[in-house]
C-alpha cells in the first residue's frame, strides 16, 4: 500500500505499434522521480497509464493502491499534462476557483496565485497569458487540491530561465514536504536538480533506473586525461575493471572511467610516466547520450 504508483509488466499497443513494452515501476511515497528520455520514448504513455487515461494492453497499473481511473483517488493527485490549453473566457482567478471547487480541501486562492507568481494577472483572461505564465497557471491548477502526488509532463517547456528557477523553487518546497513527484522531462538539469531517482526510457522500455549520481557514475563516465610518456603501456588500461573507454590522440590519452578515483590511484601506484593530469566530465548529459545511443541499454 505504500507504493504510490505501481506498474507491473505493462505493455501498451496502439495497433501494431507498442508505445511501451514490459514496463515495471514502483514509486514509494515521498520519492521524487523523473522519467527521462528522448521524444517517443514512451514517457507520456507511461504517465497516461499511471493516471488511468490509457489502459494497459497487458499488465497492471495501480495508483495509490487502487485502479487509476477511480475518481476518489484523484482527490489526492495533481496533474500537468502536455499540449493542454486553459479554458477560454475565464480569468486566472476563475480557473483556479473552478479547480478548487473540484477538491475537498483546496489550497487558498492567494497561496495558489503566489506559487504561480500570477498575483498581478489574477483578473486577466487565462487564455491571454504568455506561454510561460500559462505553464505556471497549469502548475497552480495542479496544486489546487493540495495533492499528495504530483504528475508533471514536461512542465518547464516554454518557460524562460527566470520562470524555470521560480518553478523549481516551488517544486522543491513541494518535495521537501514529503510529497511524491513524478515528472517527465528531457531537460537533464531538471532531472538532476529536482529528483532523487531517474528512470531513463528509450523506445518504450526502461533502460536505467537509479539516482542521478549513480547514473552519472555508471553511464556518464568521468574522464581522466593526461599526456603519457613514450613507454607507457596504454593498452593495459582497457583491462582495468572500472575503465569504459580509452581514447588516444598522439600522446594525449583520455580514459573514460566509472570511478576516476580508482583509476587515478592505480596510475599513481603503478608509477605511470604521465603529466598534465585532469579529471572532468561525467555529467548526466553524457550518461543520457550514452544510454539512449546504446540500443539495448544496460551493459
Amino acid at each position: 500500500m505504500n507504493h504510490v504508483i505501481q506498474l507491473e509488466r505493462v505493455t501498451k499497443l496502439f495497433g501494431s505499434f507498442s508505445a511501451i513494452s514490459d514496463v515495471s515501476l514502483a514509486v514509494e511515497s515521498g520519492q521524487a522521480v523523473s522519467l527521462l528520455g528522448p521524444n517517443g520514448a514512451g514517457k507520456t504513455t507511461s504517465i497516461a497509464i499511471m493516471l488511468g487515461l490509457q489502459h494497459p494492453s497487458t499488465g497492471k497499473a495501480k495508483l495509490l493502491g487502487k485502479n487509476p481511473g477511480d475518481a476518489k483517488i484523484h482527490e489526492k493527485i495533481g496533474v500537468v499534462l502536455q499540449n493542454v490549453s486553459v479554458p477560454d473566457r475565464l480569468t486566472v482567478t476563475e480557473c483556479l476557483n473552478l479547480f478548487r471547487g473540484f477538491y475537498p480541501h483546496p489550497l487558498p486562492l492567494s497561496h495558489l496565485l503566489a506559487i504561480a507568481g500570477l498575483e498581478e494577472d489574477a483578473q486577466k483572461m487565462a487564455q491571454s497569458l504568455s506561454g510561460g505564465k500559462t505553464r505556471r497557471l497549469q502548475f497552480a491548477l495542479a496544486m489546487a487540491g493540495d495533492p499528495e502526488v504530483l504528475f508533471l509532463d514536461e512542465p518547464t517547456v516554454g518557460m524562460d530561465v527566470a520562470s524555470k528557477r521560480q518553478f523549481w523553487d516551488a517544486l522543491r518546497e513541494f518535495v521537501t514536504e514529503g510529497k511524491t513527484l513524478i515528472l517527465t522531462t528531457h531537460d537533464l538539469q531538471e532531472a538532476d536538480v529536482m529528483t532523487d531517482r531517474v528512470v531513463v526510457m528509450n523506445r518504450g522500455r526502461i533502460i536505467a533506473d537509479a539516482s542521478p549520481e549513480q547514473i552519472k557514475m555508471e553511464f556518464g563516465g568521468r574522464q581522466v586525461s593526461f599526456v603519457a610518456g613514450t613507454d607507457s603501456p596504454i593498452p593495459t588500461l582497457r583491462g582495468w575493471a572500472e575503465v569504459i573507454d580509452v581514447q588516444t590522440a598522439g600522446r594525449q590519452v583520455t580514459v573514460v572511467t566509472r570511478d576516476s578515483d580508482v583509476t587515478l590511484r592505480r596510475l599513481i601506484r603503478d608509477n605511470w610516466d604521465i603529466r598534465d593530469i585532469t579529471v572532468g566530465g561525467g555529467g548526466l548529459e553524457e550518461a543520457f547520450v550514452r544510454l539512449t545511443n546504446d540500443k539495448e541499454g544496460k551493459s
Binding site: 504513455t45 499534462l81 473566457r89 475565464l90 476557483n97 471547487g101 473540484f102
Partner: protein
C-alpha cells in the same frame, strides 16, 4: 456534487462572455420572430391558435435547438481538442459529472432562451396565454430539450468537423421540422418527413398546448427513441476515441 456545481458555474460565466452564443441562439430567433410576425400578420389563425403565438413556440424551439446542437457541440469539440477534457479526467470530476454539468448548463440556457423569446412575444406582440399554459409550455420546452443536448454531445465528438456539422444539422433540423415554415404550408412529402424530425416532435406538443389540445404520447416516444440513439452513439464513439494514442 461540489465539483459539478463548480463546473456548471464556470460554464455559465463562459457562456455569458460568448458572443457566438448571443448571436446564434438569441439574436437569430428573436430577430426572425419580429421579422416574420410583422410580415405575416400575427393575428392569422393557425392550428387553433394565433400565428404570433405559434411562431413564438417555433422560434423558442429554434433557439433551444441552436444552443444545444450547435453551440454546445462546438464548445465540447473545442474542449476535447484542447486537451482540457483529458485533464479533467485526472481530477475528481468524473466523466459523468462533466457530462451532467454540461447538461445542467444547457438546461439553464434553454430556459433562458425560452424566457427571452416568450418575453419578446408577450411584451412586443401582445401574445397572451393563461398562466397555466405559460408554465406548461415552458416546462415542456425545458424537458424536451434534453435529446438535443444529447445530440450536441454527439456532435461534439466530431472534432474539427463539429462546427460545420453542428450548423448543418441545426439548420436542416429546423427547416425540416417545420420551425421556420409551419408544416401545414409544406408539400405532402415534406410533411411526412417532418414527422420523423426530433424538432417537429419537440415543438408539436407545445403547439398543442397553445391551442389547449391534448398532447400526443407519440411525440414523447419519438423523442425518447432519439435520445437513446444519440446517447448510445455518443457512448460508442467516445469509447473508440479513448482507445486512441492521444486525444490531445
Amino acid at each position: 456534487m461540489k465539483a459539478l456545481v463548480a463546473q456548471w458555474k464556470a460554464d455559465l460565466i463562459r457562456t455569458a462572455r460568448d458572443r457566438r452564443f448571443f448571436v446564434l441562439t438569441l439574436l437569430m430567433p428573436v430577430g426572425f420572430y419580429l421579422i416574420f410576425i410583422s410580415e405575416q400578420k400575427g393575428t392569422l389563425h393557425i392550428a387553433g391558435t394565433f400565428w404570433s403565438a405559434y411562431f413564438m413556440v417555433s422560434m423558442a424551439t429554434f433557439g433551444v435547438v441552436g444552443s444545444s446542437v450547435n453551440t454546445l457541440g462546438v464548445r465540447l469539440a473545442t474542449e476535447r481538442k484542447s486537451g482540457w477534457v483529458r485533464w479533467l479526467r485526472t481530477t475528481p470530476l468524473t466523466p459523468v459529472g462533466y457530462a451532467l454539468a454540461k447538461i445542467m448548463t444547457q438546461l439553464t440556457l434553454s430556459l433562458f432562451i425560452v424566457m427571452v423569446v416568450f418575453a419578446v412575444a408577450h411584451f412586443g406582440q401582445g401574445v397572451t396565454l393563461s398562466l397555466r399554459q405559460w408554465i406548461e409550455i415552458i416546462l415542456w420546452l425545458w424537458i424536451g430539450s434534453i435529446p438535443f443536448a444529447a445530440l450536441g454531445v454527439l456532435i461534439g465528438l466530431a472534432g474539427n468537423a463539429a462546427q460545420v456539422l453542428g450548423t448543418l444539422v441545426y439548420l436542416a433540423l429546423s427547416l425540416l421540422g417545420g420551425l421556420w415554415t409551419p408544416i401545414q404550408a409544406l408539400p405532402k412529402g415534406m410533411q411526412d418527413l417532418a414527422h420523423y424530425m426530433p424538432t417537429y416532435r419537440f415543438a408539436h406538443p407545445a403547439w398543442d398546448l397553445l391551442s389547449k389540445r391534448p398532447i400526443h404520447s407519440s411525440d414523447m416516444l419519438v423523442l425518447l427513441i432519439y435520445t437513446v440513439i444519440f446517447v448510445a452513439a455518443a457512448a460508442i464513439i467516445q469509447k473508440r476515441i479513448d482507445s486512441r494514442p492521444e486525444s490531445a
